[in-house]
Symmetry: C2
Subunit: 478 residues, 2 copies
């Protein structure tokens, strides 16, 4: 067998061109390194199919333009709790302290943000407002730190991930990075000392190698598309839908481990439930015991985790007629009531809830609403109103149908993985003793980032790019 052809000789080889890899490639090139960036498909990755929100703050120019006063400590206080328990405090501190500068970096790529605030509760606002709340104004966070909105939305219609990746990829090419699409990395090359000095890859049917004189950055994304790894590490996602481009197969995580890297927090995941927040906040979320379990005005990922991880299903939204009609049809994402009933007893029977359970729950809620204080979960009083017959129930386990096709497939639950390679704040991949594997770096969802057991929109694009940049600079030798 002949030795594979050397395809390129670079200072830094970046594996995977989602947001983390693109950020790493760009910063390494700007630091003067000769950079080659590989992607098994086209650049973009799962980042390009994401909503595009960026969790940023500490007093960004967008926040200022919206008249919002923020500082890094307020941001840290919120994220420490919202991403917890047990976030990575070292990474989180840097992320908050560096957030204003990181926002300017995005603006420097030509990404713009409309200077207005969306003040509703949504997965994806129906407006073009550039700033949105991501749970900061909901209990228990309101008691921890002054609420400040930090969801930064690139100016575009709907999902903004494609725009983000378009601008990032353009900047990467303009910085002189050699981008090789359709190139699948199959192994890392280590020298006799164990230093990572390149990668092996499959490109247009040929085995090739890329030399990396300074470092290799793994930015291949998570493992939600790898059923075996999900079963081994993140069983909460078994059987559910995956939020990805279909290529989050954990291959880079495995390459890192094979080179001596270790894993961290592999069971942590984002989880999203097919609930329309605008409906839920006007009524209540109910579990299979007929009990409320959360204030419905939290970031929707938080009520999703509260349900999927911690409460027996099935999970439902209960609203009354006024609540249903308050939400414009196009903001209902195609959901339809599973049950419409004049009495709660009927609902209990239809859904198989314990007799009287929903009646108890609604009676308490209505007493609280009349008094203006949600005594269990402290939902903002602006969303409190006694519920009246007739009632509509929307089953959260039946998915959305925004196109109105009548097909609402799946389990109603989708997610992606947050665990991966254990890295330093500079993206060095760490071995079992906490020592860097020489020449090997990683960022994005191939790593364990700022997250503990919680998640907030924009923190994955956020920490992927933030620590991707740091990894790129470190790999370039800066």
């Amino acid at each position: 067998m002949s030795a594979p052809m050397v395809e390129a000789d670079a200072d830094v080889v970046v594996v995977g061109m989602g947001c983390a890899g693109a950020a790493a490639a760009l910063e390494a090139a700007r630091a003067g390194a000769r950079v080659v960036a590989l992607d098994r498909a086209a650049p973009g990755g799962s980042s390009a199919v994401s909503g595009g929100e960026l969790y940023l703050g500490g007093g960004t120019a967008l926040q200022q333009a919206c008249g919002v006063d923020d500082d890094p400590d307020l941001m840290y206080a919120y994220l420490h709790e919202a991403l917890g328990p047990h976030p990575d405090e070292d990474k989180l501190r840097l992320y908050c302290d560096g957030s204003v500068e990181h926002f300017e970096w995005f603006r420097g790529l030509g990404i713009t943000f409309n200077p207005s605030l969306y003040d509703g509760v949504s997965w994806l606002p129906p407006t073009a407002d550039g700033l949105m709340w991501l749970g900061e104004n909901a209990w228990p966070f309101t008691g921890l730190a002054r609420p400040v909105p930090r969801g930064h939305r690139p100016a575009t219609d709907g999902f903004g991930g494609w725009l983000l990746m378009d601008r990032l990829t353009t900047a990467v090419r303009e910085a002189g990075v050699d981008v090789h699409p359709d190139t699948r990395v199959t192994g890392l090359v280590q020298d006799d000392s164990g230093r990572v000095v390149g990668v092996r890859a499959r490109r247009f049917g040929e085995d090739v190698t890329y030399r990396a004189h300074r470092g290799v950055v793994i930015a291949t994304g998570g493992f939600a598309d790898n059923a075996e790894m999900v079963a081994d590490h993140a069983p909460v996602l078994i059987g559910h839908s995956v939020v990805s481009d279909g290529l989050d197969d954990g291959s880079g995580i495995r390459l890192g481990v094979a080179a001596g890297g270790t894993l961290r927090r592999m069971a942590s995941t984002q989880v999203a439930l097919s609930v329309v927040p605008a409906l839920a906040v006007r009524g209540m979320l109910v579990d299979g015991l007929g009990q409320r379990f959360v204030n419905e005005d939290v970031y929707p990922g938080r009520f999703s985790q509260a349900a999927v991880r911690h409460r027996p299903g099935p999970w439902f939204t209960l609203v009354d007629e006024r609540g249903w009609e308050d939400v414009p049809e196009r903001e209902r994402w195609g959901v339809q009531p599973a049950v419409v009933a004049e009495t709660l007893a009927e609902v209990e029977t239809e859904l198989g809830l314990p007799p009287g359970s929903l009646e108890d729950t609604v009676a308490r809620y209505n007493r609280d609403a009349a008094a203006g204080e949600d005594s269990l979960f402290h939902k903002d009083p602006r969303w409190l109103r006694p519920l009246e017959a007739p009632y509509a129930i929307v089953d959260a386990t039946r998915g959305f149908d925004p196109e109105g096709t009548g097909s609402r497939g799946g389990t109603g639950v989708s997610g992606f993985t947050l665990g991966g390679l254990r890295t330093s704040v500079d993206g060095e991949v760490l071995d079992a003793s906490g020592v860097p594997v020489p020449g090997l770096y990683a960022a994005g969802r191939a790593t364990s980032g700022i997250h503990g057991e919680g998640y907030v929109s924009g923190t994955s694009l956020g920490d992927g790019t933030f620590f991707g940049r740091r990894a790129g600079r470190a790999a370039a030798g800066c």
Copy 2:
């Protein structure tokens, strides 16, 4: 530097002499292999300080002597749910099908079991009965499979782990195994092909090696005593007490990974809350919202998980005077009421519960009790009785005080880890592709065993010995 002295030349080297290692060593020796078994301390490990219950069934001689009819399918049905979601079905099937024979293996070691059933709810029965319930007779399991008790207790006073390990260690020595205590394994020796052919160790201040012509079995236990590994993989245990001999530092898991092994389910843990089941079952368990969350007659580890993983704390037991006095003082494990009150409103104020929440919960419970049906969680009607003032509250986060010292330290939560090396049903350590690392085997809590996210007493000693035996035979070449 001179090469380390070769201390011994064996067919099979077993690392760690808790229940899994002892079972592996014994079976390898019985299969004709020359076996050396190493332990960094004395034989026994965390197994020796455990309660000693064995989860066995399918129709064991003990079950028959107690007049209990069981079969492997009933056992599988219960454990599949109780250890789930997502237990290891291949391992679990073998475990249930082999359980009658496995019980005879224990009897063959000279361990006896008194042929009587303890019919209460307890972490550790106050009697010498040889058989106990471990949640099989509680909802929702009663609806899945005919309830059969399967907790097998070696005949001894109190904790039986020492007896189990005493008999096992004696059998190991009698089988001709060379047992080396105070020998700490520091690395695995692999030949040029990657096959594991021995271990490096530190023994009485000297570096030595042990050759293993057929295989090495890692049986070093879990990682609950390694704070860094707990933070990386099992954050639910951060800050809590550890159930171990103090030496569950994950060292063997790391050795296996360094040799090419992979990890599985590292976030799975057992969790125990300092609740006296006999009190809880006569009243109710309440969370920080003033809500019940479980039928109090389940296996106590199950209500512990239901609380610690899924409900906001602090967690409390509420009983009335009659319930308190029904439990003999020595069975109260030294707990004292945190609050004694004539009204539930007083309790709410003292504990900071939402106003009216406990009143709602008790009103519902008392209605259900009067009707003879727990409509939320289906606790066995024999434990249902309307609760009456005065009430006593026992705080679960303050620990036990069985010696009556007045000191109830810690968080009230303790646990150990269930994740580890990914292995075949024969204990082969598997690499990222699912291929065995040649010459390397593992068993017990250094591996991921039959468990999904749940736990039942006796399944760790149970799967440790069961799959330890299989690993020992496989390593011996049988």
